[in-house]
């Protein structure tokens, strides 16, 4: 079986920077496997500015930030497999990929997991009520609006104050939707202070701290949510409930590293170190832990790329 020096799983900012750093570290045969039809990861749908202030010392949009790395990549002969999803890895460093034309298994001397994160959905919150259309995670809404060109709703309540939700509060407002409230269960907002100001306050969107949604109502589409103030144990306070009529609930209640591949293979990830418990397998970016700005992702991924290069050049010893 053909063996790569390095297979990078995920072609977002983490995967791109890791592959480039591994090349700089002297690795020859590198493959990036990306399940989307283009490189760039989640940055492709982040069309707002605010990326790269640390790394490039200038303010770029998501696609611009990713574009800089993609251009560097094109100058190399690093292989890229798009529209291809890794469905399994093994502790022996085999990588099973399903692409448009079927399935193949590839061998590698090292692997970097750069699979990003996913959004927490409604389930873990256990919100009571009905299950109508119109309950959607902020990132999925961002994809519909910025990539597909469609509005997921007109009258929106945002649950959670993560950055993606805040960014979408502004984006949906600019697109003509009414964002009625942002409801956060903690006494303090989750997102960056600059996003609270620029995405909520500037548009006079009320932020309800120490509040939660107790019920989602509506038969076909969301019709209203019930909101209550919570006590210090985050339990709804009786009598504090009020209703907000809306057609959409946007969830911005946390991001979770996507490391099911490692989990299924029994490869331990500690959430902190780029080394996994399996020699030769590294992890970086949001797959390791959720970063609030992409510049830090890039720096971490560069370390992972260099570590993989050192590992392979030492003949499999780190």
């Amino acid at each position: 079986m053909h063996g790569y020096d390095l297979i990078v799983i995920g072609g977002g900012p983490a995967g791109l920077a890791a592959a480039l750093a591994a090349r700089a570290g002297g690795l020859r045969e590198i493959l990036i496997v990306e399940r989307d039809i283009e490189l760039g990861g989640i940055l492709n749908q982040c069309i707002h500015a605010g990326f790269g202030l640390e790394y490039f010392k200038e303010e770029l949009t998501g696609p611009e930030y990713a574009g800089r790395f993609i251009r560097l990549l094109r100058e190399t002969d690093i292989e890229v497999a798009l529209d291809s999803m890794v469905v399994e890895i093994t502790p022996e460093l085999l990588v099973r990929v399903i692409g448009r034309d079927g399935e193949r298994t590839l061998a590698a001397k090292s692997i970097i997991l750069a699979t990003g994160c996913r959004e927490r959905a409604r389930g873990p919150l256990g919100i009571a009520g009905t299950r109508p259309a119109g309950v959607i995670t902020a990132g999925t809404a961002q994809r519909y609006v910025n990539i597909e060109g469609y509005m997921p709703g007109k009258c929106v309540v945002i649950l959670g104050s993560g950055d993606v939700g805040l960014i979408m509060a502004r984006r949906l407002t600019l697109e003509g939707a009414k964002v009625l409230a942002c409801v956060e269960i903690m006494p303090k907002a989750g997102g960056l202070p600059r996003n609270i100001v620029q995405c909520l306050y500037d548009y006079k969107i009320p932020l309800y701290l120490s509040h939660c949604i107790t019920e989602i109502c509506g038969e076909k589409r969301v019709e209203q949510v019930r909101v209550a103030r919570v006590d210090e144990n985050r339990k709804p306070i009786a009598g504090s409930e009020f209703a907000i009529a809306c057609d959409t609930v946007l969830l911005s209640v946390g991001l979770i590293p996507e490391n099911e591949l490692a989990q299924a293979a029994g490869i331990g990830i500690d959430g902190e170190n780029i080394e996994t418990a399996t020699p030769g397998v590294f992890v970086c970016g949001n797959a390791l832990h959720v970063h609030d700005i992409v510049d830090k992702v890039t720096a971490e991924a560069q370390r992972a790329g260099a570590a993989a290069a050192a590992y392979v050049k030492n003949g499999g010893a780190s």
Partner: protein, 464 residues
């Protein structure tokens, strides 16, 4: 003019359609929703019960035990996800242990094979996650779990392959006697039939009352659930019941055929037959009651809450009667209706035959079905569902019309991200297939639009 019309395409209507499609008959199924299995059949515990629970001599007892046997063979031949996992009924006190002995006795009378009582140590050895408080358990190895949607779809699809016609989005609004049988008034026009099967689930009394004097009333009772991620799926390997009480079979903890863990149900009054909401109190009750059986359950791994309505009536047994010649009620089909359905269907067909319907077996009856294998790119990352499987579903005899009906068929959107990743892709595929706009694509039933309009700029590729 049809020989037989079946009103309702839940598990019962689908099973009757399948049985009838063996014969040279013209058969139609009339369903008001845009997919099969949208009523009680969509939201239940998904257990094919062994049959120790119903009162000996009842229809429920006989049809459950027979249905269990038939289900095992249908699941194999029609490629329905299922698992012969068996069930345990736990006793936490000597009094409950006495109930187990009664259940064992009842089960033997009902003809349930291989039942036995296991002592505490043996129970904890085969299910180490159970509470140490358990004193004994009844073990029923013939209990199974299935995917109820797939089971219904498999039966309905095979019936359609064998010539049965399925009329979705067609609500029966009135029934008149006609010279040759019955004339149905529907939301899509008139349909005439010689004989009629009432398999309308929660609305079976409405249909009955269109034909005969009132004889029963459906009093829906809601059951609420937690569905936990695959990370919890191995917690138990059998269906874990608590001792039944007057309130029913109680809260169970069971694996699902997709590798998740299902926890529920309670029994709460519904505000209407369409009321499948969940409540904070209901979910709390289910969670705390389940912890009595399996203390370590991690409810933060929840991926979905849902509830379903039981079609309970004032009668304790199923109502399977012929109140007028050629009109058969299959009503009050509460639990174990999913288990009993194939046997209910055989009974209904024999009643039609007694009434004079001639049954000639088809020469080339298709009794096998195979789902499409994975092919092409992965659309759903959590459940690894491929584009090939989605396209095959769109070209099957009963194609999906909404995002949720794709989910029910292929599993796309059923996993931990609940469609966050695949929904936009599925919306695209549906829009392409039906040649409509993404804004026309539905989440599930009528009116459940996902997208409300284009953005101001429409496709904004220029800014990316």
């Amino acid at each position: 003019m049809f020989d037989v019309c079946i009103i309702g395409c839940g598990i019962v209507g689908a099973a009757v359609a399948y049985e009838l499609s063996r014969y040279d008959l013209s058969v139609a199924v009339i369903e008001k929703e845009n997919d099969v299995a949208t009523g009680s059949t969509k939201a239940n515990s998904a257990i094919i019960h062994a049959g120790y629970d119903p009162e000996p001599g009842s229809l429920m007892a006989r049809l459950n035990v027979e249905g269990n046997r038939l289900a095992a063979s249908f699941c194999d031949s029609l490629d329905v996800p299922h698992m012969h996992c068996g069930a345990l009924v736990l006793a936490f006190s000597e009094r409950e242990a006495a109930t187990l002995a009664q259940l064992l006795q009842r089960g033997r009378e009902n003809g349930v094979p291989d039942l036995r009582i296991l002592p505490r140590d043996e129970v904890l050895e085969i299910e180490p996650a159970l509470s140490g408080e358990v004193v004994a358990a009844l073990y029923a190895p013939t209990a199974m779990i299935v995917d109820p949607w797939q089971y219904t779809l498999a039966l309905a699809e095979t019936a359609v392959r064998n010539g049965c016609s399925l009329h979705l989005e067609t609500a029966v609004t009135g029934i008149e006697p006609s010279p040759l049988g019955y004339l149905l008034q529907t939301s899509q026009g008139f349909i005439e039939t010689r004989t009629l099967i009432n398999a309308a689930g929660l609305y079976a009394d409405d249909i009955h009352n269109m034909v005969a004097p009132p004889a029963f009333h459906v009093q829906p009772a809601r059951g609420e659930y937690w569905l936990l991620d695959k990370s919890e799926g191995q917690r138990v390997s059998r269906v874990i019941f608590q001792c039944p009480s007057d309130a029913g079979k109680g809260v169970l903890v069971a694996p699902t055929v997709h590798g998740n863990l299902i926890v529920g149900p309670n029994s709460a009054p519904s505000e209407g037959r369409n009321d499948v909401s969940t409540t904070a109190q209901g979910l709390h009750f289910v969670r705390e009651t389940a912890r009595k059986s399996v203390p370590g359950l991690d409810f933060s791994a929840n991926i979905r809450n849902f509830s379903g309505n039981r079609a309970a009536t004032e009668h304790s047994d199923f109502i399977i009667t012929e109140p007028r010649p050629g009109f058969i009620d299959l009503a009050g089909i509460k639990s174990p209706g999913l288990s009993a359905a194939p046997a209910i269907a055989k009974l209904a067909v024999s009643m039609l035959e007694k009434g004079g319907l001639a049954l000639h077996e088809k020469q080339n009856f298709i009794d096998m079905r195979k789902k499409a294998p994975p092919s092409g790119r992965v659309v759903c990352r959590c459940e690894t569902v491929t584009e090939g499987e989605l396209r095959a579903a769109l070209h099957a005899p009963i194609p999906p019309r909404s995002v949720d009906s794709v989910k029910r068929r292929c599993g796309a959107g059923m996993g931990r991200c609940q469609g966050g990743f695949c929904a936009p892709r599925v919306v695209d595929l549906l829009a392409e297939h039906y040649n409509c706009k993404p804004t026309d694509v539905l989440q599930d039933g009528r009116g459940s639009h996902i997208l409300v309009s284009e953005t101001k700029r429409g496709l904004c590729t220029d800014t990316i």
